[in-house]
């Protein structure tokens, strides 16, 4: 009898954290909707609601990689980029051919699947590395994706698809043809279908999936590999398989963020700030400040740090001052010894433990 109670308690503990996170998202959602309904939301702020969800998704994906797989990736903007451009490509190519709703669902699936595929393909060589090497290779990957898209021209006419890496002219399109990806100008006129509500629904879905994942048999194996790879091998876990699964899922979630982002912007371009290393670092900042291993923390940090500059616009003189105070407060939340203890008790990790050396030459 006692044993049964105990088991129910375990289930509640991880579920509790999930419910808190869902609650946090719903409260933010309702708050924003009310502010919007009462006309208290500036158009700039309104424009940020979908990006906040998109960044939150990428941060949740990266947190899965950093916090649970225990590997540092500096290329998650790259997966976001793959999701964004592949889904925008699909939506634009099939506008007027497939009805809006199924087309958006399909583009969402395509963006997610392609980001997952890229994650999988990159993980195969990359996950043999660890620590600094992994960070460098993922950083390079993100840059390569961005740069390739910047020179990619794709058009469609009655002959089918045309590709070029040179310029628009060399596509050799018929007069009536449609340019879909136009090099550095990217994709323009993607149907703007990412509403705030859809974004929140997808964010909730991603949260439930990641929570379930990290609390499943596979998730336990992933965490075991993170905690002690050698011990994980000696209890018979196939290391590569589980690293691949976790990294692929992490990339897929970042891809969903990319899909949302792409369907909220009239002109989608791949620049350093949108999908380059700046964005990768920004997402990492959300993950670190929000707390490694804490999905709700990632979302809160992404939200605060994206909206704050806008909210402070009215106080233009003090804006940077307040922004820095908030940053310092978030830092304290992450590093202060008393708070560290509290966070430890609640299963939230800090950055140091991730960057620990994985050099295990002499095994004792």
């Amino acid at each position: 009898m006692k044993k049964i109670n105990k088991l129910a308690l375990f289930a509640n503990k991880s579920n509790q954290r999930l419910f808190t996170t869902i609650l946090v998202i719903l409260v933010l959602y309702v708050l924003m909707t009310i502010l919007d309904g009462t006309g208290n939301l500036s158009s700039l702020m309104k424009g940020l609601l979908v990006p906040v969800c998109a960044y939150s998704l990428v941060a949740v994906g990266l947190n899965l990689c950093v916090g649970y797989l225990g590997e540092l990736s500096l290329g998650h903007a790259g997966f976001m980029c793959v999701g964004a451009f592949s889904s925008a490509f699909f939506s634009k190519a099939f506008v007027g051919i497939i009805p809006d709703v199924p087309r958006f669902i399909l583009s969402l699936l395509i963006g997610t699947a392609l980001a997952a595929l890229f994650g999988f393909l990159i993980a195969i060589p990359v996950l043999r590395l660890s620590g600094d090497y992994l960070a460098i290779v993922t950083l390079a990957f993100g840059e390569i994706i961005k740069n390739v898209i910047n020179v990619l021209y794709v058009g469609v006419d009655s002959q089918g698809l045309h590709f070029s890496m040179k310029d628009m002219m060399s596509l050799g399109m018929e007069p009536g043809g449609k340019i879909i990806i136009n090099g550095a100008q990217g994709v323009t006129g993607t149907p703007r279908q990412s509403t705030f509500t859809i974004s929140v629904v997808l964010l909730l879905l991603a949260i439930v999936i990641t929570y379930n994942f990290v609390n499943s048999r596979t998730g336990r194996a992933v965490k075991a590999i993170r905690d002690n790879q050698i011990a994980a091998e000696t209890v018979g876990l196939p290391i590569t398989k589980y690293k691949l699964i976790a990294f692929t899922l992490s990339a897929a979630i970042a891809g969903v963020g990319g899909v949302l982002y792409a369907h909220n912007i009239s002109s989608l371009t791949a620049t350093t700030n949108t999908f380059g290393y700046n964005m990768s670092i920004m997402i990492l900042v959300y993950v670190v400040l929000g707390g490694i291993g804490s999905f709700s923390g990632s979302i809160i940090a992404a939200t605060i740090l994206t909206l704050l500059p806008e909210m402070l616009r009215g106080l233009s003189n003090y804006r940077m001052l307040i922004y820095s105070v908030v940053l310092i407060m978030l830092m304290l939340f992450n590093w202060a010894p008393g708070i560290l203890k509290w966070r430890e008790a609640h299963g939230i990790k800090n950055f140091k433990s991730i960057l620990k050396s994985k050099n295990t030459k002499e095994v004792q």
């Binding site: 044993k3 105990k6 088991l7 308690l9 375990f10 503990k13 999936i209 379930n212 994942f213 609390n215 499943s216 048999r217 596979t218 998730g219 336990r220 194996a221 965490k223 075991a224 993170r226 905690d227 002690n228 050698i230 011990a231 994980a232 091998e233 000696t234 209890v235 018979g236 876990l237 196939p238 290391i239 699964i245 299963g347 990790k349 095994v363 004792q364």
Partner: protein, 252 residues
């Protein structure tokens, strides 16, 4: 036929010959002691048996199957589990989860089943919980099931590591200095537990210890390593009275 048959095992690290011409034969059900001073190469033998180090020479047979050079996870599936001299738990996970990770290959459901919490997820998790608690209760650790492994006191961490190894359902259990850092009382308890699990889990045990008094009480056979080579081998009483052993090890 013996459960573990090792012939001419050897490994070099650069110029250092850490283990040389190591032979051992362990029968099913035996409790076997591997002893020797610090740096003798005992842990290195365990690392070769579990595939963490690839031996430069020699062969390892488990239950008649050649497992030389196989990967660590494969060797565990073949039937060898171990603990470490420097405890290696999954520190950020609960005591219960540590054992459930040991049960990973005995209870299966797919990643998708876990993500979407299909009925099989609940059924299998329940079975795993029950089995894990059963194993933990052998060590009296079931009360600590929801404690974070890294928050356990040292002695219990050592026991949890044994519990996790047993969860993989091994034929052969390798224990690397399980009593290190324990006080005499804890050590006595541990030795009793080891004797108990041998029966309860029907497992053969090879145990490293550098305190000779400790092993002499419970081990049927001993191998003494010195500078990477076998100094003496055989029945416990014979080995303990071997003049070579007395000279090299007990004498000081």
């Amino acid at each position: 036929m013996s459960l573990l048959e090792v012939t001419n095992l050897g490994i070099s690290f650069g110029g250092l010959r850490a283990v040389d011409e190591f032979n051992i034969s362990i029968d099913k059900g035996q409790l076997y002691g591997l002893i020797g001073p610090n740096g003798a190469g005992k842990t290195t033998v365990f690392n070769m048996l579990t595939g963490i180090y690839k031996p430069t020479d020699g062969k390892i047979f488990l239950d008649g199957v050649d497992i030389t050079g196989k990967r660590t996870a494969e060797i565990n599936k073949a039937g060898i589990a171990r603990t470490f001299q420097n405890i290696r738990l999954f520190g950020d996970q609960s005591v219960l989860d540590n054992v459930k990770i040991g049960l990973h290959n005995s209870f299966e459901y797919s990643t998708a089943t876990g993500i979407f919490r299909l009925p099989k997820y609940f059924a299998t998790e329940k079975k795993m919980d029950e089995r894990a608690l059963e194993i933990l209760s052998v060590f009296g650790l079931d009360k600590d099931a929801d404690v974070l492994a890294s928050n356990l006191p040292y002695g219990k961490q050592r026991q949890l590591e044994i519990a996790r190894a047993l969860a993989t359902n091994p034929k052969l259990l390798l224990l690397d200095e399980p009593a290190a850092g324990m006080n005499p009382n804890e050590t006595k308890d541990l030795m009793n537990t080891i004797a108990l699990i041998r029966k309860e889990f029907d497992v053969t045990i090879l145990l490293i210890e550098h305190d000779m008094k400790l092993v002499s009480g419970i081990c049927e056979k001993l191998t003494v390593l010195n500078f990477g080579r076998v100094l003496s081998q055989g029945e416990t009483s014979t080995v303990l009275n071997d003049p070579e052993v007395i000279k090299a090890y007990l004498g000081e």
